[in-house]
């Protein structure tokens, strides 16, 4: 299944623009794939008994998986020509095997700094249980669409 690629340029983006929502299910398989893909074998990501010992209800995604999903929300919306300059994220609650992830956001600021064309976006990652990971990113984009 191929996806259409969107290319947004800095001068086409405005404060208040909506960053398109995407969703992704998180079966156990994805949490295990996460541990392998990121070489992060902390047992909370693959051992349900250990996760419960930690006070968690189930094995859960690690930070790197959530980073990848946040970045995907941004680049699915604006395009593969985005350079992510900054990403700040807070893990308020865990994302468990069995959850469905939802990512969406809004544009907060468009500005120029050090000859870079920058866009600040706020991205919220939620599950059925509510907001899990709020994030703020600064993106660098080409200024205008090539003619």
């Amino acid at each position: 299944m191929s996806r259409d690629i969107t290319f947004k340029y800095w001068n086409e983006i405005s404060e208040g623009d909506v960053v398109t929502q995407i969703t992704m299910d998180v079966p156990f398989e994805r949490v295990i794939l996460d541990a392998a893909a990121t070489q992060d074998y902390f047992p909370g990501h693959h051992n349900p008994a250990y996760a419960r010992h930690q006070g968690q209800k189930e094995i859960y995604l690690n930070t790197m998986a959530i980073e990848g999903f946040i970045d995907r929300v941004v680049t699915d919306w604006a395009g593969p020509h985005v350079f992510i300059r900054k990403r700040q994220m807070q893990m308020r609650s865990s994302i468990y095997a069995g959850d469905t992830l939802q990512g969406e956001g809004t544009v907060e600021k468009c500005y120029n700094e050090n000859d870079q064309h920058l866009v600040d976006v706020r991205i919220n990652i939620s599950t059925e249980s509510g907001l899990c990971v709020p994030a703020a990113l600064t993106l660098e984009l080409p200024a205008v669409r090539p003619s």
Binding site: R3, Q39, N47, H53, Q54, M64, A65, D71, Q90, M91
Partner: protein, 179 residues
């Protein structure tokens, strides 16, 4: 806790005072086990279903960036320790795991990363990190412990700064009877 866990993820144990002694002392420079490679990039992208052409399409990536680049979310992965090595003792490379404290487990709380340049196929990173803050004992809904903040700098093999990351985690234990 009724179940005995092997410690696949050994932590350093000690007191808050022991941890404070390690503040603002950079750890050793760690050269990553993994060089940046397309296979691990593809596995990671398949995990988050990211079809970004910068990671999959050589023609596009060559034109846009000068080559296939690594997803920013893989930054930490390149420097993760192997589960076994013929010559090295198993240890964590990141200093957050080596801070002596009472908690027997941990959870990540916040991660801020600033990226300066891309990583390309074949690049090999090195990392230096240090503990910049440790809280006094706190009680949260998960348990009792200390918040640790570390700062890491990531360089490529040409000593160019790739990224700087500030990370906070909660190192805690679940009080008896609540697990």
């Amino acid at each position: 806790m009724s179940e005995i866990f092997n410690e696949p993820f050994p932590l350093a144990y000690g007191t808050y005072e022991d941890a404070v002694k390690l503040l603002n002392k950079p750890g050793k420079n760690v050269v990553a086990e993994f060089s940046v490679n397309w296979e691990m990039i593809k596995v990671y992208c398949s995990m988050v279903e990211d079809g970004n052409a910068s990671y999959w399409d050589e023609d596009y990536a060559n034109k846009q960036w000068g080559g296939i680049v690594a997803p920013p979310g893989l930054l930490l992965t390149w420097a993760m320790a192997l589960q076994w090595h013929p010559e090295k003792e198993r240890e964590h490379y990141f200093i957050a795991m080596k801070i002596p404290l009472p908690g027997d487990t941990l959870i990540n709380v916040a991660t801020d990363t600033e990226f300066h340049r891309h990583l390309y196929l074949g690049d090999r990173i090195s990392v230096v990190d240090e503990l910049i803050d440790v809280s006094e004992e706190k009680t949260t809904r998960l348990g009792v412990g200390h918040f640790l903040t570390t700062k890491a700098k990531f360089f490529n093999q040409r000593e160019q700064l790739i990224a700087e990351q500030t990370n906070s985690l909660f190192r805690y234990y679940v009080p008896e009877g609540e697990s």
